[in-house]
Symmetry: C2
Subunit: 463 residues, 2 copies
């Protein structure tokens, strides 16, 4: 007679009985085809209610360990497929989680914006407003391109700040530019060849590789990507940062812009992805007008992110599609749900509409201008002064330092690393071999001013 010691039950008795029978079936103590006691017998035997046994049997039936044969009773099911699988020898039990890079050291390769300056209390107020307002749309699933409220707010911002006139329906909101690149790849088709800038943003090539997309590189001259380089790659899609190239800082002049646009319109199916990732922080003058705004052939996809302009801990980016691509998007990809939660979309919309976004950008721009001035001063006063050239293009949150040294970039980096200073070399951003030695990237958005003189002296001592 099947008996279990129900005093050992830790949770409900039904669950305990279910677990006991299941274990006995799995380890074959109860054989295939064996008849189980009736519910009543089983209940009586354990001094518990029939309902409890019923529940345990039901669970076993539902999971397929037991079969109920009408008017006959309960039988152990056949588990013939259950060949106890041996653990393979190559199975690992240790998870190798990547360490946060350069923790504890001074990291000049970190190009994330300063999160301490995120307008936390204003943002918190917007969140509370959205929660207390609780409009019906807040609990409605937003369209695939994002909530209309946020897209209208972005369109308004693009108009006033960027001089761009776009229909909110051309805007697609997503959880980060990396996610949007994936959508673009699906939208334009996997047979396209992409071209990125050399040097350029290394993550891009990894994203295209991750998506198994053919990706080539075109060299830059002093005006940015060259059309001859573009032509030579036979690419269909050029992914570029014309307004402030990373890491060289080049701003593409008008002449080259028209050339690139004319490359795109010369053959149907050619597109330009205009990555405008830090246009908000151009330090002097107006932001450079976008390629999108002077494109008359619907070849430019404009992309931007709030990860730079607000904080990387909020994952909201957007792209602006030319009209025919917006239509293609709605026809082919509208089955995707928008990847940003309504709460965040509505909060950001309120933040923009109330004018806080523009205020924040203006405040940050001033802050970065002052920071840069102080850094220049610190270099001027340091021993590095006579050993370097500062190359800056009046924009963005980094500049290049050309060091007068004969050491290799790698040697300079190793020597600095030993002193707890991490710095990226321009040569690392080349996908194909380059002779651009001795240029180092100074990302100062996250750099502490009080460490500046020490860092510049250390650099001087190393070279």
């Amino acid at each position: 007679m099947l008996t279990y010691d129900i005093t050992k039950a830790k949770g409900s008795i039904y669950e305990y009985i279910y677990q006991c029978i299941k274990s006995d079936i799995i380890c074959a103590k109860l054989a295939t085809g064996e008849k189980l006691p009736s519910k009543r017998t089983m209940a009586k035997n354990h001094g518990i209610s029939t309902i409890t046994i019923q529940n345990a049997y039901d669970q076993l039936i539902c999971e397929g360990y037991v079969i109920s044969v009408p008017k006959k009773g309960y039988y152990v099911a056949s588990l013939s497929g259950m060949t106890k699988m041996k653990k393979e020898t190559n199975i690992s039990y240790h998870i190798d989680v990547p360490k946060e890079n350069h923790a504890g050291s001074i990291d000049l390769s970190d190009n994330r914006t300063d999160t301490e300056r995120f307008p936390f209390s204003v943002w918190a107020r917007m969140v509370r407003n959205v929660l207390s307002e609780k409009t019906p749309e807040l609990m409605e699933v937003s369209p695939t391109g994002g909530s209309m409220r946020l897209r209208e707010a972005i369109a308004g911002h693009l108009k006033s700040f960027r001089g761009l006139l776009v229909d909110p329906n051309q805007i697609v909101v997503g959880a980060g530019t990396e996610y949007l690149y994936g959508l673009i790849i699906q939208l334009l088709g996997a047979e396209k060849t992409y071209c990125i800038e050399n040097p350029g943003y290394k993550k891009l090539s990894r994203i295209y590789a991750g998506h198994h997309i053919s990706c080539r590189y075109a060299n830059l001259d002093e005006m940015g990507i060259t059309c001859s380089g573009l032509e030579a790659t036979r690419a269909n899609v050029a992914h570029i940062c014309p307004n402030h190239h990373f890491p060289t800082g080049i701003t593409m002049p008008a002449k080259r812009r028209y050339e690139v646009l004319s490359w795109a319109s010369a053959q149907s199916g050619r597109y330009i992805i205009e990555d405008d990732y830090d246009s908000e922080f151009r330090l002097n003058g107006r932001p450079i007008p976008t390629l999108f705004s002077i494109d008359e052939s619907e070849t430019v996809i404009y992309m931007n992110t709030f990860a730079k302009s607000l904080t990387p801990t909020i994952r909201i980016s957007y792209m602006v599609l030319p009209v025919h691509l917006a239509n293609l998007f709605y026809r082919t990809l509208s089955f995707y749900a928008c990847t940003v939660s309504n709460f965040e979309q509505f909060t950001l919309a309120e933040f923009i509409n109330e004018g806080y976004f523009e205020k924040h950008i203006n405040r940050m721009r001033l802050y970065y201008i002052r920071k840069r001035e102080k850094l220049m001063e610190a270099i001027g006063k340091s021993r590095l002064h006579s050993l370097c050239e500062i190359i800056e293009n009046d924009s963005g949150l980094h500049f290049l330092l050309q060091l007068h040294t004969n050491q290799s970039d790698h040697d300079v980096q190793m020597a600095l690393e030993a002193k707890g200073i991490h710095v990226a070399a321009l040569s690392e951003y080349y996908f194909v071999q380059s002779d651009k030695e001795h240029y180092f990237i100074m990302n100062y958005s996250n750099f502490k001013l009080e460490e500046a003189s020490q860092v510049f002296d250390e650099i001087a001592s190393v070279i």
Copy 2:
């Protein structure tokens, strides 16, 4: 002499001057190579400061419309690439935004959970707690797999609710399961062939097609996907819902589970994606144990989403990777940023840790049980009673209605559509031809009880 009417300036004068000169260059009123007036002359001529002209010229130089020649002056740059691009005739100006489906009608095809029952005020309290606590990690970029706080909370939930013991590092949080499918495709490689269930969730095939992934279908028998079907597709990855298949409601019994696991472990590189999308709402008894929990060969990727269990307006899903895939993920894809904002991750973690998630699930399960009972009652009382069979598998938020009719599914649907009732047929969920006519899916999570008798009478009158 270059003169502009500065009384027409709407914004700053520097911007007005800059715009005027730029327009004149673009329309060739100022020719390539032409010399611009000196800053002083220009300033005097307009009665404004030299600084203003300087700013306008700087902007033009920066954008490449003007060149500054040291000691000589300012010249109009060559814009040779600028062949005024003609608008192509195939360019569209109208954006065709897809309409929200079946608005205003009774939609039984809508399988989204009832957002009205989202515990809004508790959620709002968690948000406020997170904002007022403002831990330093809240403003730190979370690791690629998600913030540890949320991953630990999910691991705790999986342990208590699902009996799953996993290392939080095996969990990858993302903005929706659709996004996570994309990550899996990148993780396992594009050369894999995927197999989905026939019938099954239609969006899956669109997602795999969107990623240009080879995708096949295997038929189900009464125990779920068949291993012979799986073998025949020569697929490497089986994407299945063993715990509650949509739309048939089949729960895969133990025997088949072991068979499917043994299929996966028979060849290296085979994997199972276990989609556990609505396990929280199994209406009776314990949730069915996962495939992941009985897999000893590291072949199962477990997936779940809070879109079903909380609200579709919050975009948080997660997957649990077997250890060797977690390591592969960190090695190859950790350059991706996590797609969920910290605010939402921390709020959800708090919501789970404070026990509200479990309470919510329990409350919703009870609510759905009662709703289903009332629906069954309504069918019993309606004229439909004698004209249908109810097929339900004790789980999930839908059941199947087999109608006794000779009409085609399409005719039934059209007749109901004319009465403002939208209903999905099981036959629509087949990727390859099927003879499963006359089965209709009753999603009741969003269905209003007070409309039930009317709807069932309408269905009866149509068939």
